[in-house]
């Protein structure tokens, strides 16, 4: 894999050096959360040991330093996703909160009774429930785009569904279950032709592939720090500056105001209008270190590494009798989340046996119950890869699957 040396990268991740159940930890649950490099952990410790202060209001030296470090991360995130201006980056708690922010601060102003929000059947609950709550508040209607048998969004169905009442099309950029990388630019063009705006849930794309929100043509983009080497508790909403300007605040409190009078207040400028209260300063700053780390690797290289290990995993898993895969087979159209079924072995049993081998995979509905119904399963197994995963770790997963098949074999084991 050329310059990209996953074995070298692993040395930056202290947690990966441990054993679990007497075996080397094989961490294949990266779609749930990723591990953190020492650079991120150090940034967190350094902030608390040298800089800790509240931001934006203090005149003293530490407050200035903390403010500068916190604000500098906006620029790093903007550059990472091709945003035009750092002020277009709003810090939230997670991608879920970013989507809720849009559902409240934008949709409450623009979506009325009978208006439509279009989603797909492969959405994470975080991109379903905020819109159900909106629909309840406003009498809006939710429409769901179906999937092709290959596990991709049915664009013909999308064209049928989008119409004059469509106010927003909100889609996942990369599926956490199927791995599918959706053609967001095409989806955005279809939505815009009907006058609707587009939100892309980038929780599973921003960590794994080069993202350029301008090229994608979306209006809103959500991502989550902890799925891209950063700390938990930090999410990002990107939106075009003009949209952020016209939107109402999300939460009210300190930081987000300009003037406060007894009956009313005026709002701070974008993006501070959306960041009420003391933000997660330390974790935002450490998230900056995560983006630096990914920048050092190069997102195009990250993508190539994941394509290679995903192709190896799919190829190897399919050689095991009784194993089947969900989602697109072509790695050009998918990311590194690989859902699979093992005939005769329920995913929970598979996950328990994998854990005995030190292999961390996910079993369950992956917060995508609509997709589980579409696939006609109650749960899947999921292995998901990242920058530090090695082909040998796929082999360890395979060994655990073969073991599970023996335990659950009919007749003699």
């Amino acid at each position: 894999m050329g310059m990209f040396d996953a074995a070298r990268i692993r040395e930056d991740f202290p947690i990966l050096a441990q054993t679990v159940n007497g075996r080397p930890l094989v961490y294949l649950d990266n779609a749930a959360t990723t591990q953190k490099p020492r650079q991120v952990i150090d940034a967190l410790v350094r902030y608390y040991e040298t800089t800790n202060a509240n931001i934006h209001r203090g005149i003293h030296t530490l407050a200035q330093q903390a403010t500068e470090q916190y604000e500098a991360v906006r620029g790093k995130v903007a550059a990472h996703i091709g945003a035009g201006r750092p002020e277009e980056i709003v810090f939230t708690r997670n991608a879920t909160e970013s989507i809720n922010l849009v559902a409240r601060a934008w949709a409450d102003m623009h979506v009325g009774e009978g208006d439509e929000v279009v989603l797909t059947l492969m959405e994470h609950h975080s991109n379903i429930v905020p819109w159900q709550l909106l629909a309840r508040r406003k009498g809006a209607v939710l429409r769901y785009v179906g999937l092709t048998p290959g596990g991709e969004v049915d664009l013909d169905h999308l064209r049928e569904l989008v119409g004059p009442r469509t106010k927003l099309v909100s889609v996942v950029h990369a599926s956490n279950v199927l791995g599918t990388i959706n053609p967001v630019a095409d989806i955005a063009a279809i939505a815009h032709s009907a006058g609707a705006l587009v939100l892309a849930d980038g929780a599973q794309s921003a960590p794994h592939l080069p993202v350029d929100v301008a090229a994608l043509g979306v209006d809103f983009f959500a991502l989550s720090s902890h799925k891209m080497l950063g700390p938990t508790g930090v999410g990002v909403l990107w939106a075009r500056h003009s949209l952020l300007e016209e939107m109402d605040p999300f939460l009210g409190g300190g930081e987000m105001i300009s003037l406060v009078r007894q009956e009313h207040s005026t709002w701070a400028d974008v993006p501070h209008k959306f960041e009420a209260g003391t933000p997660n300063i330390a974790d935002v700053i450490a998230f900056g270190a995560a983006i630096d780390y990914l920048g050092g690797l190069g997102m195009a290289n990250v993508r190539e590494h994941e394509k290679a290990i995903t192709a190896y995993a799919m190829d190897t898993l399919l050689r095991i009798p009784g194993v089947s895969l969900h989602g697109p087979m072509d790695v050009e159209h998918r990311g590194g989340a690989v859902s699979f079924a093992v005939d005769g072995v329920h995913p929970h049993d598979m996950s328990t046996i994998a854990d005995g081998h030190g292999v961390a995979i996910r079993a369950g509905h992956h917060c995508a119950q609509l997709l589980m119904r579409r696939l006609q399963v109650s749960a899947t197994n999921r292995a998901s890869f990242y920058v530090y995963n090695l082909p040998e770790e796929v082999d360890a997963l395979v060994e655990s699957i073969e073991h599970a098949r023996r335990v659950f074999a009919d007749g003699d084991s």
Partner: protein, 150 residues
């Protein structure tokens, strides 16, 4: 580097695998007097139990469901254990089973094959799988006196 294969004998005992592969008392009771169903939303395990209770005795029991080997073997063994017993006995079995899994109490005298699930207590994330069946059974028992619902 040869590491011994991890052992799951405590969890996946032969009797458990046997019930998981060949569940007993699976199906429906058209003449059920009491019914209940339950779901573990975290993992999607589902169990529905039909009872025919006659004069305080569980004359017959059937269950339907889908899920992992622990949830499905647990309800299969439970169905064998309570069939033909009084509802009071069923409550006692349920109580002993829960105590074994959640309070590390030694298996009670009325558990029969259910005793094989004692090892599940060492896998805390799987305990809820083992308990789904007794939860649904208790719900079904609580339906006493009211007509069976679809």
């Amino acid at each position: 580097m040869a590491i011994a294969e991890p052992q799951f004998d405590d969890l996946y005992r032969e009797i458990i695998l046997d019930h998981a592969k060949k569940p007993r008392n699976r199906g429906e009771l058209p003449d059920a007097t009491q019914r209940a169903e339950g779901l573990n939303p975290v993992c999607g395990d589902e169990i529905a139990i039909d009872l025919r209770v006659d004069g305080g005795q569980i004359a017959d029991i059937r269950f339907r469901g889908q899920g992992c080997s622990i949830s499905q073997s647990s309800v299969s063994m439970l169905s064998e254990q309570v069939k033909g017993r009084s509802t009071a006995d069923a409550h006692a079995i349920s109580g002993q089973f829960k105590a074994m899994l959640t309070e590390s109490v030694a298996p009670g005298p009325d558990l029969g094959d259910l005793e094989a699930l004692e090892g599940v207590a060492k896998f805390p994330v799987r305990v809820k799988c083992a308990l789904l069946g007794v939860k649904v059974l208790e719900d079904a028992l609580a339906q006493a006196g009211s007509p069976a619902k679809e």
